[in-house]
Subunit: 270 residues, 3 copies
Amino acid sequence: MEIREKVFTNLRHVKEKNPLIHHITNYVTVNDCANIVLAIGGSPVMADDLEEVAEMVGFASALVLNIGTLNSRTIESMLVAGLRAKELGIPVIFDPVGVGATNLRTNTSEKLIGKLKPEVIRGNMSEIKVLAGLEVAIKGVDSLADEQDGSIVAKKFASELGSVIAITGKTDVISDGSQVCLLDNGHKILADVTGTGCMTTSLVGTFCGVNKDYFTATVSGIISMGLAGEIAHASLRHGEGIGTFRARLLDSIYNLTPEILAKEGKIRYE
Amino acid sequence: MEIREKVFTNLRHVKEKNPLIHHITNYVTVNDCANIVLAIGGSPVMADDLEEVAEMVGFASALVLNIGTLNSRTIESMLVAGLRAKELGIPVIFDPVGVGATNLRTNTSEKLIGKLKPEVIRGNMSEIKVLAGLEVAIKGVDSLADEQDGSIVAKKFASELGSVIAITGKTDVISDGSQVCLLDNGHKILADVTGTGCMTTSLVGTFCGVNKDYFTATVSGIISMGLAGEIAHASLRHGEGIGTFRARLLDSIYNLTPEILAKEGKIRYE
Amino acid sequence: MEIREKVFTNLRHVKEKNPLIHHITNYVTVNDCANIVLAIGGSPVMADDLEEVAEMVGFASALVLNIGTLNSRTIESMLVAGLRAKELGIPVIFDPVGVGATNLRTNTSEKLIGKLKPEVIRGNMSEIKVLAGLEVAIKGVDSLADEQDGSIVAKKFASELGSVIAITGKTDVISDGSQVCLLDNGHKILADVTGTGCMTTSLVGTFCGVNKDYFTATVSGIISMGLAGEIAHASLRHGEGIGTFRARLLDSIYNLTPEILAKEGKIRYE
């Protein structure tokens, strides 16, 4: 089955199966993450207390861990929920927000990755480079050189870790260690709104909740965000900006169909 | 005075008295709850630290407790604020988000209900059934059988507890143990947006802040949300979805008048 | 250089320099604060754990401290981050949300002000009066008497503390202890939306991140919010309210130019 058909089927399955996606995430963008999961057809649950996370994740189809506003209490909950998810065969999707900025973020990311071997890790170029132990020299995937760089980094790190690695930027790069997929949807206004990265990770989580092929699930989540961003931006009128864009982004995810996704997705293989 | 007149008067009083509603609530939908209270005419305050909640609740006209993202710190604050509210005669409105999913939620709900005897409890059918100690077999009030079921559950549980019980769903059921009121406003898109349940509870809290008749206050809060949901949905154009709907929902609450509420509210007595 | 030119230059510098603004703030309006910083041209980071705040603030151009939902954990982080900011010469902008309502808020504010000597403090009239040790008799700057009152309070307190003091209300008053500036932009609907005060403080922080003249930076942040509020309100159509207004407020900040700001800003010197 071609990737385009898989993306089509994945979105159909999200809408049919309504997967429950357990998040332990930051308090900045948590509302956006919940709404984007609902918009695509999933069901979000946000629960972070140590006393309930292992029980809650048992109902979930995927677990999203996001360290945007990590603290000692929630780090412990992430570990406990993550270990329980692994026992149950529930995929763990990790968003290493700001890794490299502080030792706490770097150490926590290393600990979570070491103990949980997340099925998917999604970040920007500098975050993934930090995790892969590389020098951070560039800020995004903005040129052909960067695109090639992204492919090499994603493929190598995915291969070492046995995870799907997704680097989002102007061109998104996804690799499972053997395949590398490049996505060209999206619009630069997405970088002007808080939480678009977190929401992308939540979409990836939602697709991972219905398909054990985490590579195509990740492609599906990221292409959904890129395409919705394009549609939302195209709808803006004079005088509108990121406030209206945020609402239209949710609208566009809500109205996304498998047909549109398969038709308008700009997917390349390396 | 007929219920319709009471609803009319309740909304007028909210707009005149601008009641302060103290919330200890979850971090997912807290912004929505604050804005919905402002939109209807109240004044929200969110404060959850153990060192200040007893003092803060003293300024409030109602206390809303919501366990959406409960943790050991906030559970303790809920108890302390709740006990102080009871001493002062300030109504406590309880939203048992996700009760039954984890032991922490079930035990916390039982403790809060046992110690605080909330004036109002609002949840969906499965949440209220868990609290009432019944088998949870259905997910909402979606058919005639469920509506009758809801009436029986709400009335019995309200009578046992001495609280107003509200079960929201396709038809909303509110009982104080003797009366049962059925509300037919609303739109199914409300279930596609995070926080509409929490916001409904916050509206109920706002009405309870101006009327000691908690039964009609609860009816007023729930019918406001249902009617605003209808108006907001009717305003959507092609390509719009839950992003725009969320904004219009706040708009519709903001523009709701006692006249519209009394005229368009679909209120039945059992 | 005239104030109007300085405001013009300040906004140009924000857009050119994209300052990183570290926030330790409340979970009610944190998403709005992040988006308003992005909308004006800055870069927000929200991090509150004791283990990382001192490291994180080292990357920032300004530190915003907001006690909206303070707790013992975040109070400690505010102190540590604030002390590190002072060592590094990074400006601290303080928003004493709800000071005077509880002892925790009052004591925390006094401690933070005493130890950190924030470069800017922004609050409403009653909050600033509490901090200045004055009787709180009025609720805002709503009349000529209040405006004069505001000027006296702001100037005296700024002079005592060596900080810029901003009192926002119908007329905004900003003083550095010698100069007093009065701003007449804004619209009363801003008070009907949660977080407009917090967002104003975040804008002030963003401007302080590019200009060590904190007085004109504060004027620039507050006038931006007032003017955006006017533009957003003027765009509302029949049936729209605070939901649409919130989106348009972000839109208006996003589309604000140095030219519009310098031309439409209603700035008076006392």
